[in-house]
Symmetry: D2
Subunit: 338 residues, 4 copies
């Protein structure tokens, strides 16, 4: 932490800040410039509340000079993390992974048809939601555990790993037999109690960025999971909220290379939620891959227009299969496989 004093700060004010800093348990290193005095905190600064110091009289600004996360940082594991699944698939290595499936598991026939398509197209992960809290109280809310059972069976039949969203702590235990990877949705990115519990499991967690979360906040959230000893976290960019309305969210493609630089964790791009529009999924899937994504997450449905949720952003199965072929070319162009 660096405290920059105002140019006209008095010696009394400077002393008071130094006292507050030492009281907080750090050593203070003072630089007195011709214009301005600077106080650098030396020692354990991780738990410090920086904003508090900014309010002290005579202080201009307080700067944090080290990243607020540790286990999520690239330096913790410079070679990068590869998450492995029981079916032999991996996320984070040279091969790009594809996770596909419906927004919601609707019935047996639907999820088996989709699983067969996922397999046929060469992808190895089947996603499907069972708990669907919707922004309107008047919409379909999901099948729950029976939905997960169908998802699991369909995946088993085709050698796929399953990914499904967990909404609250009480769902973790009953979901365990059916999911190979827990998904934490954007709205729960800062549900720290849930993250902490997931840190106690030994199942991979796909953590979605909140629609107003910074890259740094995403890494602070993954820190909650990692600090519990669960190192298999996959970060997901799925669009942020901006003033632009031509797409439902603005997919922040640059977050992908930024996350790859700052962290060792694999990064997934979700062009379905990232754009909210079926006709934008293909170009944005390609963009995410070209920018360095380790995996892609896409919503697909045999009857996309009639999907009970997220219909507008869901690909038809033939669109998905065609896209997989195009993505393979991009993967090769960036030196990877798919």
């Amino acid at each position: 932490m660096i405290v920059a004093m105002q140019e006209n700060a008095t010696e009394e004010q400077i002393d008071a800040v130094i006292e507050a800093m030492t009281e907080a348990g750090v050593n203070v290193h003072r630089t007195t410039g011709t214009m301005q005095t600077i106080l650098a905190a030396v020692g354990q600064t991780a738990g410090l509340d920086l904003a508090k110091f900014e309010m002290l009289p005579g202080v201009l600004h307080v700067h944090r000079i080290s990243a607020p996360y540790k286990l999520s940082g690239r330096a913790f594991r410079p070679e990068g993390t590869v998450v492995e699944f029981a079916n032999g698939a991996r996320i984070g290595g040279e091969q790009v992974a594809v996770i596909a499936g419906p927004c919601a598991v609707e019935n047996r026939e639907q999820i088996f048809a989709i699983a067969a398509c996922v397999k046929r197209a060469g992808a190895r992960f089947l996603r499907g939601g069972a708990f669907k809290p919707r922004s309107s109280p008047y919409s379909f809310q999901g099948h729950g555990i029976p939905g997960l059972q169908m998802l699991h069976e369909a995946a088993q039949a085709h050698g796929l790993a399953t990914v499904s969203e967990v909404m609250e702590i009480a769902q973790i235990e009953p979901m365990l037999p059916y999911v190979d990877c827990f998904q934490v949705g954007a709205r729960n990115m800062q549900n720290f109690n849930l993250l902490r519990e997931l840190g106690q499991t030994r199942k991979p967690v796909l953590l979605k960025r909140g629609i107003a979360a910074t890259v740094e906040e995403l890494l602070l959230s993954s820190e909650y999971i990692l600090s519990g000893g669960n190192y298999d976290v996959i970060l997901c960019e799925r669009g942020i909220r901006t003033y632009e309305t031509s797409t439902r969210n603005t997919m922040d493609i640059s977050a992908i290379p930024v996350l790859k630089k700052l962290s060792h964790l694999p990064v997934v791009g979700d062009p379905s939620h990232g754009t909210g529009r079926r006709d934008m999924v293909a170009p944005m899937a390609k963009a995410a891959l070209a920018a360095g994504a380790d995996a892609l997450l896409m919503e697909i449905h045999p009857n996309a227009d009639k999907a009970v949720s997220d219909a507008a952003q869901t690909l038809y199965l033939d669109q998905f299969e065609k896209l997989m072929g195009e993505l393979r070319l991009i993967a090769t162009a960036v030196g990877r496989t798919l």
Copy 2:
């Protein structure tokens, strides 16, 4: 719902859209202009997924023409809602309410000193957090139920009503004896399961706007609580996330009159979280009041700089008492009392 077709849409495309609309259960009213065909849905459109229609071939845009909420709308109760509390205080009437207290209940002495100050200053609501999930896993996390007991006792001693944040469904039941008003934090504004459960209680709920939530989304969230039969909802503006960094959030003061126009529910302004800076609390509290807020929510602490959380935005007790006097003048100027 209005579907505007593209200028070059074919008759086949128009017919396909009409079919999709009737299949979704609405009647269709067609206007064929010289340039463009427009299809209006007549009937029950509340459950329709508009985005789905936007993806159909030949469609330019789909417009929703009625508000997606009902019980939260001003028309449901044009005279406005007044929430009443056991200690006789009200939120929503002519008198402006003030809710004050520490971010977190720290100990008995702290909360009793604050309660005495709240009472002395003429406010009637004591707030204090007991469950404090923090964005860093390395920070203080709150006292839980024992903290609420202290809060309750301190409030009782001074005839105050209590307000405290509920983080998850499992906390509702144990909190019931100690809180007069549940607070739902910004991060939980779209935790629909929690909202639904709170809709089953008969305790007032103070619902905070998410940092990236629109006014409409806030009203959709309150709809979850109201649709359970709990009509005592209080809406809270506490700052949204924008590109500006001189304040922690950008307090959207205009949301206050907008909410008052669109909804019958009382509106609270929270200048502490709205700005994140102690020196901005007073001007923004005044602004919120001048713009029509029914109540104000502020963080106060006898030793603000040493508060275990939110120190930077917390007022000292004497600052709060002074501010209460200034707010009284503004209240009078806008034809209210405080």
Copy 3:
């Protein structure tokens, strides 16, 4: 400037950064911590391109530790600036100023009727646009200099000072006889050539914040005018662009007290552009005043619904007169007059 090195930065990298800093003309003060090395620049850092240093190998972050503006800063004139006008009116003192008028000067009758109303209501500034570049090329574009002549005559008849927008350098000279205050619109806030030229005049300049400009960028822009020797600059908050769409812009009321703290320049609130909605002008005018604005800028028109531009946000004359009475009460409540 402070350069925080990465924890694993090598001595070679540190040396290279020190060399780049000294080459840029500053002295370097090094702090070697157990975790991290910090390099502080001492000396003249105003012209430094900080981002450049951030790209050097081994660098974690670069922090600017002094404000990038000088003349606009509060420290330059702690007592605050009061701008004086020929008609005796002032902006920045104890009395709150009101600037009112139509978006565009339409004709003689219109502007004289408005001037009479402004005077009657007790305000002392008449605004009106003569150059109206519109976002659609198919809209009305203003009367030019003849419009300004009408504005000037109407103002003279009632002892008012005039305010009108200047769009480009070539307009400054011909506008001089007719305007008492140049307005620089939000879109020109970073038209640095225009600002520089206005810095050469000795007429007050009302500088509007761009819809995506930070408070700091607004102060950097005012610096351009002040550095030319023209110290009569008035800053204006008129709404920023956010994701919220219930108002046209989000009026950042907190920018008013922030600007008052950081700068000595007077601050105006513009609730007409700030909200884009007539029904929100009154509450937001009151909020701006309660938060510390030195002046208010409002669009008014005898036939508001038929105004050729900005009709939706324009007050009728009787609404304006009623509002003036209400604002007077707020002014008193915050210890000022109006």
Copy 4:
């Protein structure tokens, strides 16, 4: 235009809206639902001020149902626009174009070295700024016309076309002999007088999106140029302002396919300004290309760290040459050449 009335709107209110609409010159088509009355405007609605109708009593919302631009729309030229240059290069066709050069032309040696590199790498456009208004008044401001002469000579020597930014109307004429394509910067995207004048020239214009501009506003701005008869407009995505700070701007990659869908004009991606960071230029250039960009615009410099402006986002020449090779692979993967 569709006017949706409130559910409780009276017949008088409905009649008043119909009258206002007919007065504005459109025919009105009324749909009376069980809940709500809807009024559709039929006829010439291009010039209508929609916000004005939204303020009328009893109105819930006003929706625009046709795009506000015409000449920029895809329907105007469904096959797409290809802009041709004197040196035989094109922007908009199957071949992806690359525009590279320094932020500012600094001296003869610099620009000739860069031109040689651009040629060697297989690109055909040389960019370089001569007028550099900077956000701080204390920075380098460009060489003006002599800078353009150097740019032109260096380009001629290598068969390249030149691109340079025009800041104001007075610069158009003197720039004509030296530039093959005018660039309009983000800050001037809504400088409508400048756009109108450029519409009178017969030189291609590269129009950058403002940092807070929507896709629709960008197309409205291009409409100004096209409506003057200059159809050679190239649209440029170069990052928008959001709350995220890990990159200087958030490059909105999805704007590329959205623009390609809505408009016939070619689209350029600018990863240098889009990210503000040298280490993010390569992944974002690839992403833009994969998403369908017709061209890429990049800043390069033989001594990037010492560039007088935009140093942090400027590539070294060898980085650029290496990137060109990688981009060629992506171009092939998406069925194009480079």
